[in-house]
């Protein structure tokens, strides 16, 4: 049941600043809770200029939403939910699950690996290394067959076991990789029978591939340390060579989302849920439709972790061959792997009382603070690492969760820079320019399956990620630990 008038008829949204880094949209119309946006003076003006505030208000209308509809500073317009949005719903209070609150690319995420290599070790060798990585990790439209395609039976095992399947059954990686992956690379409740045949078929050949859009594989060098003790605990100092991998669940995840949007459109009518925008289509968590989506979503999340684990293995092989090093000397260890498009059940204190909530993070990253029992023991003293990629010409950040995250954002922080320019505009801007040459001038070697993607993803198309992470640090949600400068990037 959609009531567009509830949206268009809503009084003009008025932002009310509550502190230096947070603005509130008081509830109006069908909003059940306020909207709360983390930003600074400049970012909030950008945010006001697109329709994402309207989307923050729309999400606040969802049944069972708790506390507030939240937006991180890298918020931009998305389908139904804004990208950069966080919404926690309470299953015990009729709370809903919405595929639009997760996104098409289920468990799109980032991982970062550190190495024993120093900046000087790779000088003059980056182009050859990027060529080797570009051959090993298929990227772009139709990319497939990085490894032998899986049978349907193998796919079923993988969809339940996630990254564990890649490590234990395929021998690609080690137990330490699993310990340093959010949820150990395996979300419970995955049921492959809830995925369509088409979803599984699309996944069979795409394991170990990047895809395109904003996905990438990047070699970066640590160029600034903000917290030396934490950086040391993560195994890096200035000059350490790292590898970042950003991708998700590929065609399998997109198919799961498509399949369940149809299911949810029917569920909205069946359960009489009134929504201001049909893209927020959802079902009660405690309904057949809600639990079916969650079972299929967990499969796609597991596929994404398996995908990033496979790419990790392929990248390690390239590095070992290029530098004639064994695994011990290369020391290419996973620092952490985070998802930024997922819904998960987590316990949070609400008004002094613990409640199990379904936390939707769409373009937002979990950021648990030091001491939290849900992060691996080896990282517990410093807090959960959070990886925030910037654009491919500037820098990316590694943060850790801070105590404010549990108080203000259901343990969530930002996920990236956020676009400021449309893809069409970025392409126009790029006409007649030597983009690869410009990036080379900045010291970045780029290999790309599609030149047009490079034009769309040029640094000027994005906000400065430094502004975004600064807001979250100022709000007490996450702390900056170190910054990386890219030296080599593979784009799809």
């Amino acid at each position: 049941m959609f009531s567009p008038s509830r949206s268009s008829g809503r009084p003009a949204l008025r932002l009310h600043q509550i502190d230096e880094y947070c603005w509130e949209l008081p509830p109006t119309g069908a909003m059940r809770v306020p909207g709360r946006i983390f930003a600074n003076e400049r970012l909030i003006r950008d945010i006001e200029s697109d329709k994402s505030l309207e989307q923050v208000a729309n999400v606040a209308c969802l049944p069972g939403i708790v506390d507030a509809s939240l937006a991180m500073p890298d918020i931009h317009w998305g389908y139904g939910f804004p990208i950069g949005g966080v919404a926690a719903t309470d299953p015990a209070a009729g709370g809903v699950i919405s595929p639009g609150g997760v996104g098409y690319d289920i468990n799109c995420g980032v991982r970062i690996l550190r190495t024993e290599l120093r900046k000087k070790d790779i000088e003059g060798r980056v182009p050859d290394l990027m060529d080797a990585l570009f051959r090993a990790v298929p990227a772009g439209l139709g990319s497939s067959n990085a490894i032998k395609p899986l049978s349907v039976a193998e796919m079923h095992e993988l969809l339940v076991a996630g990254a564990e399947y890649i490590v234990r059954d395929l021998g690609m990686g080690d137990e330490d990789d699993l310990r340093h992956t959010e949820e150990n690379g395996r979300l419970d409740g995955a049921d492959p029978d809830l995925c369509s045949d088409r979803a599984i078929e699309r996944g069979r050949r795409q394991l170990g591939t990047l895809g395109s859009g904003n996905h990438f594989l990047e070699i970066g060098v640590v160029d600034r340390i903000f917290e030396p003790d934490k950086a040391a605990a993560l195994g890096v100092d200035e000059g350490t060579v790292c590898v970042l991998i950003h991708c998700g669940s590929r065609g399998l995840g997109y198919q799961v989302c498509d399949d369940y949007l149809s299911v949810m459109n029917r569920a909205v009518i069946k359960y009489g849920i009134e929504l201001p925008d049909r893209q927020l289509c959802c079902a009660p968590i405690e309904s057949d439709e809600g639990s079916a989506y969650l079972g299929a979503m967990a499969c796609a999340a597991n596929y994404a972790w398996a995908n990033r684990q496979t790419i990790t293995h392929l990248a390690r092989e390239c590095f070992m061959e290029a530098f004639h090093l064994g695994p011990r000397d290369l020391g290419m260890r996973l620092i952490y792997d985070v998802c930024h498009n997922v819904a998960k059940f987590e316990e949070h204190d609400v008004d002094g009382r613990p409640r199990t909530l379904c936390v939707h993070r769409k373009g937002a990253t979990r950021a648990f603070p030091p001491g939290d029992p849900r992060i691996p023991e080896s990282l517990r003293a410093i807090g959960q690492p959070v990886l925030v990629p910037g654009d491919m010409g500037r820098y990316s950040y590694v943060l850790t969760g801070a105590p404010g995250a549990l108080k203000r954002t259901f343990g969530s922080t930002c996920h990236g820079a956020g676009r400021v320019m449309s893809r069409a505009q970025a392409k126009r801007e790029s006409r007649g320019r030597d983009l690869f040459g410009e990036l080379a001038q900045r010291g970045v070697t780029v290999r790309a399956a599609g030149k047009r993607t490079v034009a769309e993803e040029m640094p000027y198309a994005y906000k400065d990620v430094a502004d975004v992470v600064e807001v979250m640090a100022g709000a007490g949600v996450s702390d900056k630990v170190f910054r990386l400068k890219p030296v080599g990037v593979i784009k799809g």
Binding site: W77, G142, R202, G213, R419, A424, G450
Partner: protein, 140 residues
């Protein structure tokens, strides 16, 4: 403005194209061209092979989304590039048509971008006096 056509329009995070045609079948044929232009250099694709496509949907918008989903899946799964669609017919809840194209050839073809989804965002097929129009947002 010609009888049928398409153009990319600005959209912050994703891609969007506007289509217009003189009939609903022509609009569906035009949509195939627009999707091709997003994903590869369509001008270089020859119409050497054919395949029949049939989709079902409860309303015109759902049929358009499913039609484009099928065209895209042929591209993703088989790297078969569509140059054009002809003989498009609308029969109750079914759209039938013939795709013309060929398998990807690295020497001649340039691929652009993968897409995640054909979305329902703001999707509304509008009909006027002798014209049909729609804007499609594609998640990339």
């Amino acid at each position: 403005m010609s009888a049928s056509g398409h153009r990319e329009i600005d959209h912050t995070a994703d891609l969007s194209f506007e289509l217009w045609a003189e009939s609903l079948p022509s609009l569906f044929a035009e949509a195939v061209l627009a999707l091709g232009d997003v994903c590869y250099d369509r001008a270089a694709v020859r119409s050497t092979d054919q395949r029949r496509l049939e989709v079902r949907g409860a309303n015109p918008e759902e049929r358009l989304v499913r039609w484009l989903q099928e065209v895209y899946l042929v591209l993703e799964s088989e790297l078969w590039l569509t140059a054009a669609a002809t003989d498009v017919r609308v029969e109750d809840e079914v759209i039938v048509g013939i795709l013309h194209g060929e398998p990807f050839d690295r020497a001649r073809h340039t691929l652009h971008t993968e897409i995640k989804a054909i979305t329902y965002h703001g999707l509304e097929i509008v009909q006027g006096d002798g014209w049909w129009r729609v804007t499609v947002v594609v998640d990339v």
